[in-house]
């Protein structure tokens, strides 16, 4: 008969394993950040859609008698200008709200361009291999080696700065990420027996690529999409800040940041608040993307 110490020794040995309660807490902690991100994004989308009803002022309306007013709760502030006004007397709060439309439009549309180009090239290169693969891989490497900002700037300079052209410039420079992921996964999947089976059923190549291979890529692509939307928003702000993006007076956060820079020393909110808006949107999307990745990763799902 074993001495009673041994059972407690066994219990002790088992103890380091995380208890179910801890695992649950860990999961909730993961989810909490994702929920925070989801709330931020939901707020962003809500504002972007309903901004004409939410915004207290016309974002273009200038009031020369009310330039550079401080926020309403500070001395000299006026109640109708919640966050004060900018250098030509426009309501900062309304402009921030309208900026969400630009950011969201550019972010989603640029990623759409990236997705279409990137996935098409990735599927093609991965499925056919050989010369197609070499050509696409070479293009991806060249694009990856080129400084993004130089390429995007030259494109905007050639095309002219407008909303469509910024979307195009971001889309045309950002697709290689999608090509890389799609190509690698396609390369792996095309040797799977279910793809051979689809071929022996005489299904056409488009049907095999879109109906059999692409659905298996969706989880990883979905995660990539969220991160890329955040990146496109930041890049739009960057281009606008450099004066090559959305042109004033259109309220883009990047443009507002650039305008606010001149007054930074005495009215720092003019630059800081658009920056904060960019930061919150990008972070919200990234947190959401993290949560999506954790939820679709089978290893995470188990723990």
């Amino acid at each position: 008969m074993p001495p009673p110490e041994s059972t407690s020794a066994v219990e002790e040995a088992l103890d380091p394993l995380p208890r179910p309660a801890d695992l649950l807490l860990r999961k909730i902690w993961h989810l909490r950040l994702g929920v925070l991100g989801a709330f931020l994004i939901a707020g962003l989308v809500f504002i972007a859609v309903f901004v004409p009803y939410v915004s207290p002022h016309d974002p273009y309306e200038q009031n020369i008698t009310a330039r550079l007013l401080p926020p309403s709760w500070m001395e000299g502030g006026r109640p109708e200008y919640l966050l004060g006004t900018d250098h030509v007397g426009r309501d900062l709060f309304s402009r921030l709200l309208y900026g969400s439309r630009i950011s969201l439009t550019v972010g989603l549309a640029a990623v759409l361009v990236q997705v279409v180009i990137g996935i098409a090239l990735g599927l093609w290169a991965g499925y056919y291999g050989g010369a197609a693969d070499s050509a696409v891989s070479f293009m991806v490497n060249v694009m990856m080696g080129f400084p993004f900002i130089l390429l995007a700037m030259s494109l905007v300079v050639v095309l002219g700065p407008s909303l469509q052209n910024i979307i195009l410039a971001l889309g045309l420079t950002g697709w290689p990420v999608f090509t890389r992921v799609t190509r690698m996964e396609t390369l792996r999947l095309r040797e799977q027996e279910f793809v051979l089976a689809a071929r022996s059923l005489a299904l056409g190549v488009p049907r095999i690529l879109l109906g059999h291979i692409l659905p298996n890529l969706l989880p990883s692509l979905l995660v990539l999409v969220t991160f890329e939307v955040a990146r496109a928003i930041i890049r739009e702000s960057l281009l606008s800040f450099l004066g090559l993006g959305i042109q004033p007076p259109t309220p883009s956060w990047g443009t507002m940041l650039a305008e606010g820079r001149d007054y930074m020393l005495f009215e720092w909110r003019l630059a800081a608040l658009p920056g904060l808006a960019i930061f919150l949107s990008a972070m919200g999307i990234n947190l959401l993307g993290d949560a999506v990745r954790d939820l679709t990763d089978p290893h995470m799902r188990k723990s």
């Binding site: 799977q192 279910f194 051979l196 089976a197 298996n216």
Partner: protein
């Protein structure tokens, strides 16, 4: 000499559905920075055989001998390096892609791995019925046909809206069989149809294949590494070693009077459960299969062959008839 391929014999009855002549599949090995071809894997190196309408040919050999490659070439999932594959008299290796449709609907494959052979993102009814729908192969509702096919292979049709991961290995293999049957094929290539399954499930799936054969009488090529599986369902058996056929014969002749030393060794490896059966030599093969990148000269089996003579090292034996309908590629058939 590999040019003039010998043609293993046929029983006089019946028509050939499939004739394979001098099939070769060499996979290039790419090396270095610029993808120079640094040699070939001689996976299949001059294989010829015929399958009659309604006949089942078993193809056995160790893993890596090229038997799966043969099967995939037959469906033109690979483009063969050389040789002809005549299906109903038409050389399918030369068919342009757009004319493959008619052929593809007549030849189907059952895959080895019931997991990777079913797309995890498709519902069972789409896995089985997609080809029916796309090619408009049935007059009525394609779902009705899927229901019939599921019943045919012993699956409850109510499960047609489920995804593959909800099924067991044996059930998944049945789904794969139903998918092949949907095209009403005249040739079925079954690539190790049961080797990934539990032994108890293996028997069920083999019985299902036999039932379907009786019902539809397609020609079959059954690929296996296990003679016991093949012996059960084949009319004739072909033995493959390192990219070449070494013996082709009817199942009774091959099991009863194996002529090639490799076949004899394979048979010795099958556990015997027959009391009173003639005691067989206990010695099993030693050594590994040589690399198909650098196959040995002469007879490919000579480094492991217990009966090898000096001639085997330099000259390659061709398939020759040792008795009517029984072909072996050996200089000393039966003489181990």
């Amino acid at each position: 000499m590999t040019g003039a391929a010998p043609r293993p014999g046929l029983a006089p009855r019946g028509e050939n559905l499939l004739a394979v002549e001098g099939l070769k599949m060499h996979f290039p090995i790419r090396k270095g920075l610029f993808g120079k071809t640094g040699g070939y894997v001689y996976a299949v190196d001059g294989v010829s055989f015929e399958i009659q309408a309604g006949e089942t040919l078993g193809l056995v050999g160790e893993s890596g001998c090229g038997k799966t490659t043969v099967g995939r070439c037959l469906l033109r999932l690979y483009e063969p390096t050389a040789g002809r594959i005549l299906f109903d008299g038409v050389d399918i290796t030369r068919l342009p892609e757009r004319r493959l449709l008619r052929f593809r609907s007549q030849a189907q494959m059952i895959f080895q791995d019931p997991y990777s052979s079913l797309n995890p993102r498709l519902r069972v009814r789409d896995i089985i019925g997609e080809a029916l729908r796309v090619h408009r192969l049935c007059d009525g509702d394609w779902r009705e046909r899927v229901r019939e096919l599921m019943l045919e292979v012993g699956l409850p049709p109510d499960l047609m809206a489920r995804y593959p991961h909800e099924f067991s290995g044996g059930q998944r293999q049945r789904i794969g069989i139903a998918r092949a049957l949907a095209m009403s094929p005249r040739l079925i290539v079954a690539d190790e149809p049961v080797s990934a399954l539990d032994v108890s499930i293996q028997a069920q799936v083999i019985n299902l294949l036999e039932k379907l054969k009786r019902r539809y009488s397609p020609s079959c090529l059954v690929i296996a590494h296990d003679l016991a599986v093949v012996e059960h369902i084949s009319d004739r058996i072909a033995v493959m070693y390192l990219g070449k056929l070494v013996e082709v014969a009817s199942d009774t002749a091959l099991i009863g009077r194996p002529a090639h030393p490799y076949t004899q060794a394979l048979l010795r490896a099958v556990p015997q459960a027959r009391p009173g059966a003639k005691k067989r030599r206990r010695s099993l093969l030693t050594g590994d299969v040589p690399s198909p990148i650098r196959p040995p000269p002469g007879c490919r089996f000579h480094p492991r062959c217990p009966a090898a003579v000096p001639r085997c090292r330099t000259e390659e034996p061709l398939l020759a008839e040792v008795e009517p309908g029984h072909w072996a590629a050996c200089f000393r058939p039966g003489g181990a």
